[in-house]
Symmetry: C2
Subunit: 456 residues, 2 copies
């Protein structure tokens, strides 16, 4: 039985227990499930009902702490719907139990009135911390960091630090990496719990700590944060503000979520789809339309260049209608090869495998590979050229194939570098854009060669 | 200064120190750098030299342990080149210091003779463990797991377990999650170090441990392993064999690498590029050719269907050559919209956001979105139709646009589900395949509508 099936069974049991008001049965089942799984079950109940009352009733069976951690596993739009249906009091209790990063995320999803009303009911310190965390721009280190880390004041001994770890353990996101801060709150060093555990008790933390700490700043882009965590195999990456003061950490699990969501964003961008706020099955239709339409319409106009090319060669075409037979094939093949080349570069640049300095070398490699690809495809298509219109046509088609595939591949390869150089996102060199550009060039190349060789 | 620039400066300093035999300067600089960064520097030196002597000489400046950890950060092909140039003795020393998962990976890169020669020099237990780890199929949990975990025999008390953690600390990949095994080596429970640290000393581990452990089996696919680690925010995922015996763990950093490499694989598949063994800038040209050519040639033949459609409507075209003007535009637009729809589904299925059960709902959504996209694009192109050939042509072009975009989007949306249903990888529904299929259908739709309305 797959996980989805198991969760569906649990969902049915829970809904039945709710309907029959068997709270003990529901509580017992929920206590056996993990927060991520409960989130999936409740998310499904909510999307079935399209109104939150049953979902909220089920949430009442969860102890407060688990309710908070479950909520953090739900997609943003689902969190908002549930939070909007909760009373201020209930929501405040839940927010308090959430991790500081998830609390700020949920807070940012609420409307202004609700936020003000919640802030008024908070203690001063809490309010300030929430306002600060909620103020970081989305997609930055500040927006994904948590403030629940273990800070050790410089000057402590090993047993003192160990005591501090034990005290902080229930609230911290991770206790396995400790951050030593000086009198001004600046990040002075780091120490893993493993190192602390095997250290001689008499030792000072300042003697043991690693002073050259890998860290980042609050306004660093989240993909760069994830890249650092992955590169150095970190449990958590400390985040400092403009004055080098430690203000939070980004943990490995949040960095992993970033890798996943950035990959989705890149894959969508590769097809000229804008960033979706949520999964494709849940995002509003209007938003899905908007994220797809811009480039599609722009490319309609770009495609007019192909039309213009065809209009220019109208006489050649009228004299040899058989040429049209090979048009989709030639421009399609060039587009495919070019989109491959562009995608290889864009992904290489995103993972850091390819840099602008490699451009010359990669250009040489692509010429060899694309040349070979073009020749292979020309050989495949030549016999059909002979069949459809004799040897002269076959020669035109084969020559066009090599030229279009080679030109298209080089164009696809260079475009991401060019965009990057101009300060654009190289991922703008999407398959649709590249194939459209190659369509237009392919028309000119094909009919140009045809006019020259067939002399029409 | 970017990290790349900093590393380039360090590389120059190191190479100079080597040339001038200033071993102290080289050793001092290396001791300040992190393994991942040293790996990048040495990888650059090797690819510059194209022969390993200078890289190996630089490696001599590293203490054995760091040499081993640096080696694990290098790409597979680079590791192989260096290992092949090392003596058996030197390589054995290095292998011993590597993590068990990286040791097995490197071992698998060597040729058969070398492997036998290394195995003969190993102690019996080491040999057996290496052979076992090296035998798991690539892409499975067994192939990415490490055997360096902290196992606590069932029945221990809290202080005994703590002692065991301290003893294992230097060798284990993580000491922060402990695995309790019964007398038969079976996974009986788990406990975090955090829980152990706050437990009363008199307590038995068996009373504290969580018995319902999230785990996986050695032959589970690595992308599923990564999905579990991400879903439950795990530090490590225990791996069991067919008899439920604990045989290894997959740590969060290795799971993150899987997410990254699977995303790259999916992005490449989306353009019909096969899985590359290594980065695009380093992979051999022949291999790059081979991974791209198969689908490109297959699609040349698939594109003949477009040609056949054109041949069928040759009379219509000959009578109205102006129709050709809009051909690339119409089939290109349909291809773009269809590739978007396919990509949204393929990525949704890969992240678990979309399942086969959602098909009906998604079909309805896509009809609405694609219908609106088609109408918008038809409005954009209609005025040009009027300009090029009057109102009748504009009507043909606008109607074709709506039909092709709608049909193409639905085809692109359904294809991944169909492939999945047939037991294929949904990612086979790549942009090139989808656009080629839409090209052929678009030709029929366009000229079909043209023949009907213009009556030629």
């Amino acid at each position: 039985m797959s996980l989805t099936d198991i969760l569906n069974t649990h969902r049915a049991t829970l809904c039945q227990a709710l309907a029959e008001e068997e709270s003990e049965r529901a509580t017992a089942l929920l206590s056996e499930l993990r927060s991520a799984d409960i989130a999936e079950i409740l998310g499904a109940v909510l999307s079935e009902d399209e109104e939150p009352s049953r979902t909220l009733a089920l949430m009442e069976y969860l102890p407060l702490e688990r309710r908070a951690s479950m909520l953090g596993h739900l997609p943003g739009d689902t969190q908002r719907v549930l939070a909007e249906a909760m009373s201020d009091e209930r929501l405040l209790l839940t927010l308090e139990e959430m991790g500081s990063d998830e609390r700020a995320d949920l807070f940012n999803l609420l409307d202004e009135d609700r936020r003000q009303s919640l802030l008024r009911r908070m203690a001063r310190r809490e309010r300030q911390e929430l306002k600060r965390l909620a103020s970081y721009e989305e997609g930055t280190a500040g927006a994904i960091m948590t403030t629940d880390y273990v800070a050790i004041p410089s000057g402590m001994t090993v047993p003192q630090a160990m005591m501090r770890v034990r005290q902080t353990a229930p609230d911290a996101e991770t206790v396995y990496q400790l951050y030593i801060i000086d009198g001004h709150g600046r990040l002075a060093g780091t120490l893993s719990l493993r190192q602390l555990m095997v250290a001689p008790p008499g030792e000072q933390i300042d003697e043991l700590m690693i002073r050259d700490v890998i860290h980042t700043s609050v306004d660093e882009a989240q993909e760069e944060v994830a890249r650092i965590v992955a590169r150095y195999d970190l449990l958590a990456l400390p985040v400092v503000d403009g004055d080098e003061r430690l203000v939070g950490i980004v943990t490995h699990d949040d960095a992993m979520d970033v890798v996943e969501s950035e990959a989705t964003e890149d894959i969508h961008k590769g097809m000229s789809i804008g960033t979706l706020e949520g999964g494709v099955s849940r995002v509003p239709l209007w938003s899905l339309y908007r994220k797809r339409v811009t480039w599609l319409v722009l490319l309609v106009f770009a495609n007019l260049f192909s039309g213009a090319g065809i209009a220019y060669f109208e006489e050649t075409i009228a004299a040899q209608v058989a040429l049209v037979f090979f048009l989709p094939l030639l421009i399609g093949s060039g587009g495919n090869a070019g989109a491959q080349a562009a995608t290889l570069m864009v992904r290489g640049m995103a993972t850091g495998d390819v840099g602008i300095k490699d451009w010359g070398k990669l250009m040489g490699r692509e010429m060899l590979v694309a040349g070979s690809l073009g020749l292979t495809m020309a050989l495949a298509v030549a016999p059909i050229g002979v069949m459809r219109g004799g040897e002269a046509l076959a020669l035109v088609v084969a020559m066009s194939m090599v030229t279009i595939v080679l030109f298209g591949s080089l164009l696809g390869m260079c475009l991401p570098f060019l965009l990057d150089h101009l300060g654009w996102d190289p991922a703008t060199a999407s398959a649709p854009l590249v194939t459209t550009l190659i369509d237009a060039s392919g028309v000119l190349i094909y009919f140009g060669i045809a006019t020259t060789i067939l002399g029409t």
